[in-house]
């Protein structure tokens, strides 16, 4: 019967523009009709009679649609807010650069150049991210020429691109940071034989970033994250214990875990 109500509403909305406001109204009307229908039949009313009552109670949708079309509200409120936000991020970013350079000199004077260098790169990375983030969140969006779903799509696509830029920004900051840490730690401790382990680990982090920015490919990237960490763990355990003859067991074990997780999520989605 719910389907029948929906079909009736579809007929009432026939020819209406597909704007968000109209879709909101359709959604709300549908919820209202279903609530009413459930309430009436729950009270013991015959389903056909309840359906008729629901339909009779809808009233003049055409008039309402006309009203909505006239009142396409435009919201100019957030321009000033955006300007404030952008100013904040720019100031914070620039401050970060100054701190970065100061750090380097500060630690150089006390004879710990590597540490100063690492801090400088880290601060510079964070500052860059602040600047980029500030720009991305405050930049003027694609202005909709009307309120149809096609226009909505364009807006979404432009914001999507921004996310991509953001993702590549995050990635390059990550790798910059990782390489710095690798060099500093290696020079410092002289353990070139083991420090490279940071790279499979970093690859895992890279997957995490991708998963965050591309939710549609989340599963793939989380899988990648998992395997990167397994590989890292394999090397750490093996180098630590020198039990190479047995540590490989981690791979079939990991595969089993992954299959189990897959099964579990599949089962959850089925519910």
């Amino acid at each position: 019967m719910n389907e029948r109500i929906k079909l009736h509403l579809d007929s009432l909305f026939e020819g209406a523009p597909k704007t968000r406001q109209v879709e909101d109204l359709r959604q709300e009307l549908l919820a209202g009709c279903r609530d009413k229908y459930a309430d009436l039949t729950g009270g013991g009313m015959d389903s056909e009679e309840a359906y008729q009552k629901v339909i009779d109670g809808i009233g003049d949708v055409k008039e309402l649609l006309g009203y909505i079309e006239k009142s396409e509200a435009f919201d100019p409120a957030d321009a000033a807010e955006k300007r404030r936000k952008r100013a904040f991020f720019i100031s914070a970013g620039i401050l970060g650069y100054f701190v970065a350079v100061s750090m380097f000199f500060l630690f150089s004077f006390s004879g710990r150049e590597e540490f100063g260098l690492a801090l400088m790169v880290a601060f510079a990375g964070v500052s860059t991210m602040l600047l980029v983030y500030g720009r991305m969140t405050t930049v003027v969006k694609y202005e909709k020429t009307d309120d149809t779903l096609v226009e909505e799509m364009k807006v979404q696509m432009t914001t999507g691109k921004k996310d991509n830029k953001m993702a590549s920004m995050a990635s390059s900051s990550l790798w910059l940071l990782i390489v710095t840490i690798y060099l500093v730690v290696s020079f410092w401790g002289g353990r070139w034989d083991i420090t490279w382990i940071i790279f499979p680990f970093a690859a895992g982090l890279q997957n995490l970033i991708s998963a965050y920015f591309k939710p549609e490919a989340k599963k793939k990237h989380l899988g990648g994250l998992f395997w990167c960490f397994v590989v890292t763990a394999y090397f750490i355990i093996s180098f630590g214990s020198y039990a190479w003859h047995i540590t490989w067991i981690i791979f079939p074990a990991a595969a089993a875990v992954q299959q189990a997780v897959k099964l579990f999520t599949f089962w959850k989605e089925q519910e």
């Binding site: 109204l25 709300e28 919820a31 003049d60």
Partner: protein
Amino acid sequence: MSIASDLIRGSTDMIILAQLMRNESYGYEINKKIQQKSGKQFELKEATLYGAFRRLEEAGYVSFYWGDEQTGARRRYYSITEKGRESFQIMTEDWHKACRLIESMISLDEEENRDE
């Protein structure tokens, strides 16, 4: 009944705000409460109700959020704003004033209202 229903239609906004003064709510529940309060004599048409919500929203008298119903269509939950509360007070005062005025104008008693 047609004059009465015209009168009521003119007061839709006030009637809905009265419900929201108590607690936040969604379309069908509001309409059902109105129906109950009227002793089952009156029920708003859905289109009238949702039209009123949009008017009230534009005026800044109510705000809404989408419910997270898992099955079927999502509900729109409404709550009254501070501005809405203030204007509800003014509306009801005006309404009572108008009622008294009409009351006195349609009264068939001859001897009263000479007190000024």
